[in-house]
Amino acid sequence: MIFFDNVSKIYNHHSVALKNVNLRVNPKEFVFIVGSSGAGKTTLLKLLIREETPTDGKIFLDGIEVTDIGIGEMHKVRRRIGTVFQDYKLLPTKTAYENIAFVMEAAGRADAEIEEDVPEVLELVGLSDKRDNFPHQLSGGEKQRVAIARALVNRPDVILADEATGDLDPINTLEIVKLLQKINELGTTIVLATHNKEIVNSADRRVIVLDKGEIISDKEKGKYLLI
């Protein structure tokens, strides 16, 4: 379970990223976070993986206070969360295969497991033939799919995706959303921040709307309300 307890993030007087956010996401939920750019979607996700710390408030993940863990323990929380970053954050000196294998190695998984799982997720995102390409040899959509594969491979409790379909064409977008829905059905919590009206409206899932750092709407089976 993810729990935001009255969380604010203020960069300076003119820039308030999040204001008094209270949010609970139950296990196995599929949640869309929508809102115009600058509404605070990315900040919300960054706070959950402790890429940033809130100015005020507490954040919990399965009973662990994320805002209270020391720097030496942060990786343990991050291993429970698979993140698809807006800018992908692939390691430029590693191939697609190595980028995915890296998170498994870092988590201390056995070699046999890595050799079995990495080709599997690569196939899942349709990149088996690009496994030995470096990120600069991949298109935007391909990079995004490597990032998704990397987020999946450790079978995390939660997957956070920040504009995970932004660089994909409509067909691929649909594929990825279907994939995420399938993963969700297998028991993984999914938090998907997006601009994409169609996928929100067709999914028929919980939708949280952020505006200027505040939650202005939170509805089960919601629709993308903003124009």
């Binding site: 990786h75 993140t83 430029p92």
Partner: protein, 302 residues
Amino acid sequence: MFFTNLRRITKTGILNYKRNGWLSTATVLVMILMLFVIGNLVFTGALASVILSSFESKVDISVYFLPDAPENSIISIKKELETLPDVRDINYISREAALELFRNRHKGNQLIAAALEEIGENPLQASLNIRAKDPSRYAAISEFLLQKNYREIDKINYFENQQVIERMGAIFKTLRGAGTFLAFFLAFIAVLVTFNTIRLAIYTMREEIGIMRLVGASRWFIRGPFIVSGILYGATSALITLMIFFPLIWLISPRLALLVPEFNIFQYFLDNLIVFAVLMFGGGIVIGVLSSWIAIRRYLQV
């Protein structure tokens, strides 16, 4: 788990070292420069100390005895002097030995040979040549001789050479002090340049380090490969530096022997090869590891 991680860290370290070819080459070159400077300081230090001690050993006090002084009382003075802690060694030259030395030195000079014949008896004095452990102690030794006031002693040449001896002592002290300071200063600069090169290499990878943190890598798992690369930098540059020194010293050795015959630098190198290799490898690896460790610290705070 621990060994799996260790193996992965080592593998990644070696892979990074190979993939960042230019960066590794540049770092290794700078480290070779550093080790070369440190190595040179070691040899210059040894050479300087050989030259200085050969100078120092040429400074001595000569005590001349009256012609009628009996040999056994000279020997007993010698024995008494040898008990002084400042005295390194004493060389007794009897009148006969002095004459022999004088004759040898002027062999072939007919005029001097004829003059000696003319005098008939041995005109030379018996003497004790005293060398101190430290040039600054000559004053104390001659002071001791003066106080004892042996009646067999004709003259002590310390007072004639006093100024020269004291000045030499002061110069030796200054030279050693300045040399040590200069050596440390140069070594410090060399270390600083190496540290900065490694820092720059890690700076170029700061984003990747941040990414690794965000996808769940522990600090050790990220730091490890950089430490391994640091070890590789150190070991490679130490090996290359040693391979440069070998022919270099072999070439220099005969030329240097002409200037300073007391010092065989190639022999010195061979005798101290293990110590020198330990210094090169140890210095290179310690600085490589320490620089990586310090430089990566701030980028792990993600």
